[in-house]
């Protein structure tokens, strides 16, 4: 187990290194002159030169990269080009919206995906099972923006139960209002991600139903449902954990789009704004933070999977 964890940790570090190089290279080297790009076409050569100096672009690229990585290791994600504010502080600020949003979305996805996935597998070939399966297939094809718009139309415009967009300016000082603001966005991401999870749970359950040990348990006198619940579902749970990493990555991506739709002051909206204004040092820090998060989640998911799956434990 420890050997596996160390190997996996090595892969994580390698992954972070590759990610940082890719992000650094693509944002600095490829476009040619970053300073010119940032300053715009109407700048004077002197302005561009001053900008280049202040960005440290006159030093060789490997030195710039090492400077950046050195800063990262000290928790410094860089500073905004436009405001001069440190990226890490702002990221922590915005995470107060995005992290709860992500957790709520994940809960919605699990609540939809797991029970209905199992149900649609057990009731396969009957009207309800088929309906759930077809519904999930259709929902998984819905663009998340559109799902959000439709939910806004129903729950905010027609029924008036929830605010159509925005987040209370006082933040979490008013927990009820903040939660209310996050319900529709979380529902949007959760429904679409849940539909994908459902399809996965469905096929994992179908596989479990076909296993010899489930059939044997049924032959020994358990009802088919009980046999599946006690012997099949733990295995379904294991495979759900393996897709959890993908699900969380999907939620991060969904949050970028959905925070824009609901004008939530979160990490995703910050990234979109900074990409639009081409605040490259900031974008660089944010992209690395997001990819780093996805990579770390993948690492943790692998470790947990290894820990609780006895077959894998024995193998090592």
């Amino acid at each position: 187990m420890i050997r596996y964890a160390l190997t996996r940790l090595g892969l994580l570090v390698l992954g972070l290194a590759v990610a940082s190089v890719l992000i650094f290279v693509s944002l600095r080297v490829l476009p040619g002159d970053v300073a010119q790009l940032i300053a715009g076409t109407e700048s004077t050569p002197a302005q561009v030169e001053a900008l280049r100096e202040s960005l440290g672009l006159n030093t060789p690229l490997p030195v710039q990269y090492l400077d950046w990585v050195g800063g990262l290791l000290r928790g410094d994600l860089g500073t905004s080009l436009l405001t001069g504010a440190p990226v890490a502080a702002e990221l922590g600020d915005k995470a107060q919206v995005t992290v709860p949003l992500g957790i709520m979305s994940l809960l919605v996805a699990l609540v939809i995906g797991v029970p209905f996935g199992v149900l649609s597998a057990i009731r396969r070939g009957r009207a309800d099972g088929t309906a759930v399966g077809v519904g999930a297939q259709a929902l998984a094809a819905v663009p998340v923006v559109w799902a959000g718009m439709m939910l806004v139309v129903v729950f905010a415009v027609w029924l008036g139960w929830l605010p159509p967009q925005g987040f209370p300016r006082s933040g979490w000082a008013d927990p009820a209002a903040a939660l209310r603001a996050l319900v529709l966005p979380a529902l949007t991401i959760g429904v679409v991600e849940g539909a994908m999870l459902l399809r996965f749970v469905r096929s994992a359950t179908l596989q479990a139903i076909g296993q010899d040990y489930v059939r044997t348990a049924a032959a020994k006198g358990l009802t088919r449902t009980r046999a599946l619940l006690t012997h099949g579902l733990p295995n379904v749970g294991l495979s759900v954990i393996t897709v959890l990493g993908l699900q969380i990555a999907g939620i991060v991506v969904g949050a970028v789009v959905i925070e824009q739709l609901f004008t939530l002051p979160g990490v995703g909206r910050m990234l979109v704004t900074d990409v639009a204004t081409r605040d490259l040092p900031k974008v660089q820090g944010e992209l690395l933070a997001l990819t780093g998060f996805v990579l770390v989640v993948g690492f943790l998911v692998d470790l947990v999977h290894r820990l609780i799956d006895p077959r894998q434990r024995e193998a090592s």
Partner: protein
């Protein structure tokens, strides 16, 4: 779809190979097998649905080049926000443009993006898979680790990287989905390629004098094609979704171009007053993505020998080659 085209076999055959009796039956069997796969695809309800949706979208895109009910760019302030009625079947939007015409013209963007992303994904995916399967061991393993790392990059993150530097355009969608999904294709195709590489019929091909390139074209590519085409179909679905999402964020199609994603974000400001208008572009995207997803599922089912026990023997070409 050229890999599933039975005529390819004739073109691929060389006079030298034709004289060798051991190879012809295998080739004919592969072609028969592919035709059977297409037949099975059509026999599946999901396959029929997928093919129909893709055909409708492509034909609509082509039709919109010569005819749409109204000029999709024509502004008509007297006809703002008309409901679904004659002559505006799906109604009009804020500038009085006909929504049906905009949707039809938008299909062009969708097809372009899906095909473009598919091409990039093919080159990236098959390239990485080949690098990860056919090169010396140290290159191979390095590529495999790289693919494992790259797969963690969500398409949207790649899109953000590209648009931060080059600004938004449809190219962002094509490249981000192409690269992001190409890595996916590589991950699935590589083990398949390695499996086929070590199979007896490839060895037999080499023994009977095929060069590496001939072997690749005749035995390796046709055998990984099923796995690859399934992935491609799913990748194109991702491209259609990504176009909608990125155009909404302002990093995709320019607002002057008719596109389902742009239409969706145009209409979003008015959902409180005209909720029905938003339904149409969303439905168009959903149906297209659903069609591509189901087509991929059906392709997998139709080409998976383990799901059809009787055809399994027919798909195992080893005895035929050696006989």
């Amino acid at each position: 779809m050229s890999a599933t085209d039975p005529r390819r076999d004739e073109r691929a055959s060389t006079p030298g190979a034709r004289r060798r009796p051991g190879i012809r039956p295998a080739r004919r069997s592969a072609s028969r097998d592919r035709r059977r796969t297409l037949g099975r695809l059509w026999a599946l309800g999901t396959g029929r649905f997928g093919i129909a949706v893709v055909a409708v979208v492509v034909l609509t895109a082509l039709l919109s080049l010569v005819w749409t009910p109204f000029d999709p760019a024509a502004v008509d302030v007297r006809a703002r926000w008309e409901g679904p009625s004659w002559p505006h079947l799906l109604g009009t939007e804020d500038n009085g443009r006909d929504i049906l015409s905009l949707l039809m013209a938008g299909a062009r963007t969708t097809v372009l993006v899906a095909v473009g992303a598919g091409l990039v994904a093919t080159v990236v995916g098959l390239g990485l898979a080949a690098l990860g399967a056919l090169t010396p061991r140290w290159v191979r393993e390095g590529v495999a680790v790289l693919v494992d790392i790259l797969i963690a990059f969500p398409v949207l993150i790649i899109a953000m990287m590209i648009s931060a530097v080059w600004g938004g355009s449809l190219w962002v969608v094509v490249w981000s989905v192409g690269i992001g999904f190409g890595v996916n294709i590589a991950r699935v195709t590589r083990p398949e390629l390695r499996r086929v590489l070590h199979s007896d019929f490839v060895l037999a091909g080499r023994a009977s004098g095929l060069t590496g390139a001939q072997n690749l074209r005749r035995h390796l590519l046709p055998n990984v094609a099923p796995v690859f085409i399934v992935q491609l179909s799913w990748g194109m679905a991702v491209a259609v979704l990504a176009e909608a999402g990125l155009s909404y964020l302002g990093f995709g199609a320019p607002i002057t171009q008719p596109s389902w994603g742009v239409l969706l974000s145009d209409l979003q400001s008015y959902i409180a007053v005209h909720p029905l208008t938003v339904v149409w572009p969303g439905l168009a995207i959903t149906l297209t993505v659903l069609g591509l997803n189901l087509l991929g599922d059906a392709l997998r089912e139709a080409s998976d020998p383990t799901l059809m026990p009787r055809t399994r023997a027919a798909r195992t070409p080893v005895p035929e080659v050696i006989a």
